[in-house]
C-alpha cells in the first residue's frame, strides 16, 4: 500500500516537472506591459502559468532559460484593488481566488531596468479558470478514484461552474438595468433643468435690458 502511493507521488511529481513546452506564446519588449481581462464570478479559482525566454541577438534564437529575468504579475479586482502583486522568476505559476464578481485584470511586465525599448521577450502563457484549473491528476492520485469516478467528478465541477456563471449573469443583468434606469432619470432631470435655465435666463435678460434702456433714457 505504502509502496503504491509512494510510486504515485513520484509519478505525479515527475509529470509536474515535465515543462509545458507547447503553449501559446507572444512577443513583447522588455519594458512593455501586457494585460489580460478575465470576467469571472466570485469564489472562482484562477491559475496562470507562464515561461519567459529572452531573445539572443548572437544566436538569433530565444534562450530557453535566462537567470535574472523576472516577471511581475499584478492582478486587480473590479474595484481596482490589487489582489496579487508578486515578482516571479522567468518561469512561474500564480493563483488567486476571486472574492468579487467582475472584470479582473491580470498584468505581466518584466523587471527590466531599461527606460524604454529593450530586447524582445517571448512569453508562453496559459490561464485556467474555474473547472479548467482543477488538476484531475492530483485528485485521482490523492483520492484514488477510478476512471468513471474521475469523469463524474469532472461533470460535477462543470455543472457547478455553469450554475455560478448563471448567478453572475443575473447580477450583471441587474447592474445593466440599474445603469439604464439611471441614464433615463438623468436625461429627464437634465431636460427639466435646462428648460428652467432657459426660461430664467430669458426673463433675466429682458428685465436687465429694460432697466438698462430706461436708465439710458432710450425707452
Amino acid at each position: 500500500m505504502g509502496n503504491q502511493s509512494f510510486l504515485f507521488i513520484i509519478v505525479f511529481i515527475l509529470i509536474q516537472l515535465i515543462l509545458p513546452t507547447h503553449l501559446l506564446y507572444f512577443h513583447i519588449r522588455e519594458t512593455d506591459r501586457k494585460c489580460f481581462i478575465e470576467e469571472i464570478p466570485d469564489q472562482t479559482l484562477v491559475i496562470g502559468k507562464y515561461k519567459v525566454e529572452l531573445f539572443d541577438p548572437q544566436s538569433n534564437t530565444y534562450l530557453p532559460s535566462t537567470p535574472g529575468i523576472g516577471m511581475h504579475v499584478e492582478v486587480k479586482d473590479p474595484d481596482e484593488k490589487i489582489v496579487l502583486s508578486k515578482l516571479y522568476t522567468s518561469e512561474g505559476r500564480f493563483t488567486f481566488t476571486s472574492h468579487i464578481p467582475g472584470e479582473h485584470v491580470i498584468c505581466l511586465y518584466s523587471n527590466s531596468t531599461a527606460w524604454f525599448g529593450g530586447q524582445q521577450l517571448r512569453v508562453h502563457l496559459d490561464i485556467d479558470i474555474g473547472e479548467h484549473a482543477v488538476d484531475y491528476q492530483q485528485i485521482s492520485a490523492k483520492e484514488k478514484l477510478t476512471e468513471l469516478q474521475l469523469r463524474v467528478r469532472q461533470l460535477l465541477d462543470q455543472v457547478e461552474q455553469i450554475s455560478k456563471e448563471q448567478n453572475y449573469q443575473r447580477y450583471r443583468e441587474e447592474r445593466f438595468r440599474a445603469t439604464s434606469e439611471s441614464t433615463n432619470q438623468r436625461v429627464l432631470w437634465w431636460s427639466i433643468a435646462q428648460l428652467l435655465v432657459l426660461v430664467i435666463a430669458g426673463f433675466w435678460q429682458m428685465r436687465h435690458l429694460k432697466g438698462f434702456f430706461e436708465a439710458k433714457k432710450l425707452v
Binding site: 507547447h22 470576467e39 491528476q137 435690458l209
Partner: protein, 217 residues
C-alpha cells in the same frame, strides 16, 4: 496485477492530459496595433480558433492565420465573430494575428479561444480525463456525452456573457456622456445669456456717447 494496470492507466491519462489544452484570453488591442500569437503544433493535430470583439468602435477586427511555411491559411477583414476549425498539415509554429490598423482611435477588447487537440496517435475526441484504449461501457459513453454537452453549454454561456458585456459597456458609456454633455450645455446656456446682454450693453454705450457728442456740437 491490478496495481500495475492502474499505474499504466494513470500514466496514460497524465501523458494525454498534457497534449490537449484550451487557452482563453481577453485582451485590449490599441488602435493601429497588431497582436500576434504563436504555437508549435505537430502535423495532424486539430485546432480551433474562436474570437469575438467585445467592445470598441464597430466591433470589428482583421485576422490572419499563417502556417509555419508562411502560407496564409485563413484571412478575414472586419469581422466581429469567427470560428475556424482546421487540421495542421505541417509541423512547426503556427501564427495568428489580430490587426486594428484600420482604426484611428478606438481600442478593441478581443476575446480569443484557442483549443488544440495535439496528439494524433491517440484518438482524442474530447477533453480530459479519459483512457486511450479499451472498450467503454454504456455509462462511460453517456458520461462522455454529458461532458460534451456541458462543454457546449459553457461555450454558449461565454458568448452570451461577451454580448452582454458589449451592451453593458455601451450603456455605461452613454450614461457618462449624457452627464457630461448636459452639464456642458447648462454652462453654455448661462454663458450665452450673460454674453448676449453684455454685448448689447456695449453697443448702446458707445452709440450713446457718440450721439451725445454730436448733440452738443
Amino acid at each position: 496485477m491490478l496495481t500495475i494496470s492502474l499505474r499504466i492507466s494513470f500514466l496514460l491519462i497524465a501523458f494525454i492530459l498534457k497534449y490537449i489544452h484550451t487557452t482563453e484570453l481577453t485582451f485590449e488591442l490599441p488602435d493601429n496595433a497588431k497582436e500576434c500569437f504563436h504555437e508549435k503544433l505537430k502535423v495532424g493535430s486539430k485546432y480551433v480558433l474562436e474570437f469575438q470583439v467585445v467592445t470598441g468602435g464597430n466591433y470589428d477586427v482583421d485576422l490572419e492565420l499563417k502556417s509555419p511555411s508562411g502560407k496564409i491559411l485563413y484571412q478575414t477583414t472586419k469581422k466581429q465573430y469567427e470560428r475556424i476549425e482546421q487540421t495542421a498539415n505541417e509541423d512547426g509554429v503556427y501564427e495568428f494575428c489580430f490587426s486594428n490598423e484600420f482604426s484611428t482611435f478606438t481600442h478593441k477588447v478581443i476575446y480569443i479561444d484557442w483549443k488544440v487537440d495535439g496528439d494524433p496517435e491517440h484518438e482524442i475526441t474530447g477533453a480530459s480525463p479519459r483512457v486511450a484504449e479499451g472498450a467503454l461501457t454504456m455509462i462511460e459513453t453517456k458520461v462522455g456525452n454529458i461532458h460534451q454537452n456541458l462543454e457546449t453549454c459553457i461555450d454558449y454561456q461565454t458568448h452570451h456573457r461577451l454580448r452582454e458585456a458589449t451592451g453593458r459597456a455601451r450603456a455605461e458609456d452613454l450614461q457618462e456622456r449624457v452627464q457630461i454633455w448636459s452639464l456642458g450645455q447648462f454652462i453654455l446656456i448661462i454663458i450665452v445669456a450673460i454674453g448676449t446682454v453684455l454685448l448689447l450693453r456695449s453697443f448702446f454705450t458707445d452709440k450713446r456717447t457718440s450721439s451725445h457728442m454730436t448733440w452738443t456740437k
